[in-house]
């Protein structure tokens, strides 16, 4: 066995998994706050990455400026989407809302292809050194940046939901909307805020992936990868989403290793997470961290 390769793959898995975790968190955020299963999550990455790419290459902005402008744009994007598309659907059957988000996904997928073309386009290089040596493992600098940003976002979420009053308000809204209103919380505002934050965070992930692999419609594939991660962790748990993301990322890479060394079936990378998902759901139907209702006896 090739231990270095395995280690390298595990590290890669953790890095990619952390990104999955970030996207999964932003998915859970929307689900928790507004009970909407957002099938357009992957397109948030796509839109964010394209917008950032456009600002960097067409407007020739420095990275930080383009990045911040992208975040500002995505804040508005998420809010407008919620207000215009999803607010009128409040109170409609779940399936209608799901159809609407699927529609949104297809729409933005196509829109981005229309505007930016179907070919992957690379970001202008951001770091001067391509790779660094970390404990004997070769790691791309962008991957390190990706990991750093993921950890930063997770810490930000942790702070937001336990220390800031708007985070608490969001949790209260998730728990019981009537109670939230009785506390002076505006539920529509919380909804809009959750979409805005989710769009921004997804866009960050999108930009990171874009910097690593180039921007193309493949980015929206992350939206699909999020499902095993989210369901693994339990649909409504933020911590579960992070862990689910990490597990999916590592599993993918291990499966690839297994495949390349012995099985030679091909395509295990894509499928392995879903196998794991089925097995875990057999054992823990609510996912690893799904809410169990507190009941006093």
């Amino acid at each position: 066995m090739d231990w270095t390769l395995l280690l390298q793959l595990t590290l890669n898995g953790l890095i990619v998994g952390a990104l999955y975790g970030v996207v999964a968190m932003s998915f859970v955020l929307i689900y928790k706050a507004s009970q909407v299963v957002n099938f357009a999550q992957g397109e948030f990455l796509l839109v964010g990455a394209w917008v950032c790419w456009w600002m960097l290459t067409e407007w020739q902005l420095p990275f930080w400026a383009g990045f911040l402008l992208t975040l500002a744009f995505m804040t508005l994007f998420g809010m407008i989407l919620q207000v215009v598309v999803l607010r009128p659907l409040i109170g409609e059957p779940v399936i209608s809302v799901i159809m609407a988000t699927i529609g949104l996904g297809i729409f933005f997928q196509a829109l981005m292809k229309w505007i930016f073309g179907v070919f992957a386009k690379p970001f202008p290089p951001i770091f001067s050194t391509e790779r660094v040596n970390l404990l004997g493992l070769e790691v791309q600098t962008v991957y390190l940046m990706s990991l750093g940003i993921s950890v930063l976002i997770m810490a930000g979420f942790a702070w937001f939901f336990t220390a800031s009053k708007h985070g608490l308000a969001m949790r209260a809204t998730a728990f019981d909307q009537q109670v939230a209103q009785s506390l002076g919380i505006s539920v529509p505002k919380v909804f809009a805020m959750s979409w805005a934050i989710s769009a921004v965070v997804s866009a960050v992930a999108g930009v990171v992936v874009g910097v690593v692999n180039g921007v193309s419609s493949a980015l929206s594939f992350y939206g699909i990868k999020v499902f095993p991660a989210v369901i693994l962790g339990g649909l409504d748990s933020v911590i579960g989403a992070v862990l689910g993301g990490l597990i999916v990322g590592v599993l993918e890479n291990w499966a690839q290793y297994l495949d390349a060394e012995w099985l030679n079936w091909g395509n295990m990378v894509t499928i392995a997470p879903f196998y794991a998902l089925i097995i875990i759901l057999l054992i823990k139907p609510y996912g690893l961290f799904g809410t169990k209702n507190i009941e006093r006896v």
């Binding site: 608490l168 949790r171 728990f175 019981d176 009537q178 009785s182 506390l183 507190i294």
Partner: protein, 265 residues
């Protein structure tokens, strides 16, 4: 002429789902700095009245279709509930309704959501002053006992620094000893902090002991009102809400006269 009352409900009518008429011409007045009790049987419309005032009615497909509600002289019917909280009315809902998957402290901090001054910390201490046992509870609020949850719910209301608290059955599901404790605290809140309280209660005896004025509701209307003392000595109130008070038990033979004696109907 005395100053305008803090809260004035004038002849309101409440309809649920556009069909079900729940309140029919209800009026009541809550003067500044007083505790006013709202009594009545199940389904009389007490909770609906509170929700009409706090605006939470609108979250249940209910609507004030006639009449007006004035708070500090300004009309507040038809305003969103979260804005009514900002004006200084806080409802402690029936069944406590604390956020079970948050800690005590987080629940309290959430009570101060509408405020942006820097005194939240000292207010939390003040709440702990009234409810010392909340300080020791560091786990999730969902695991608190019923009494502690009620205390937390009242404490959370205090955190909003309201002018008026609407309390919906604070005694629900509590042991007699705890009921006494909670009502003792309600009285202290009124005396020490000057918070005006509109209290809905099944436990009429307790409610009348802390209130200065009370209304009795039947089928969506006020049928009787007066000072707490007057009501406590009213024969009908004694009969129907305070129970066989020292008097000999009613025999079933007299049961028919039961209905007839509710002379306000």
């Amino acid at each position: 002429m005395e100053a305008a009352p803090l809260l004035q409900v004038n002849n309101i009518e409440v309809v649920y789902n556009d069909v079900i008429l729940v309140l029919r011409g209800l009026s009541l007045t809550v003067p500044q700095g007083k505790i006013v009790a709202l009594l009545g049987a199940n389904g009389a419309g007490k909770s609906t009245t509170l929700k009409a005032i706090s605006g939470l009615l609108r979250t249940e497909e209910g609507e004030v279709t006639r009449g007006e509600i004035r708070f500090g002289g300004e009309r507040i019917d038809g305003i969103d509930p979260h804005l009514i909280v900002r004006r200084g009315i806080f409802q402690v809902m029936e069944g406590r309704r604390i956020i079970a998957d948050m800690t005590c402290l987080e629940n309290l901090r959430l009570g101060a959501f509408t405020r942006s001054d820097g005194e939240v910390k000292s207010d939390i201490e003040r709440v702990y002053g009234y409810f010392p046992r909340l300080r020791e509870r560091t786990g999730l609020a969902g695991y608190l006992s019923g009494g502690e949850q009620q205390m937390l719910a009242i404490g959370r209301a205090l955190m909003a620094r309201p002018k008026l608290i609407l309390m919906d059955e604070p005694s629900m599901g509590l042991s007699p000893l705890l009921v006494k404790e909670v009502f003792g605290i309600i009285r202290r809140l009124n005396e020490e902090l000057g918070i005006t309280i509109l209290l809905v209660e099944q436990n009429a005896r307790m409610a009348l002991s802390v209130a200065s004025y009370a209304y009795v509701m039947e089928q969506g209307k006020v049928v009787l009102d007066g000072t707490a003392e007057a009501l406590a000595n009213n024969e009908d109130v004694k009969e129907f809400y305070l129970g066989g008070h020292g008097a000999e038990r009613k025999s079933f033979k007299n049961l028919k006269s039961y209905k007839r004696r509710k002379r306000w109907l």
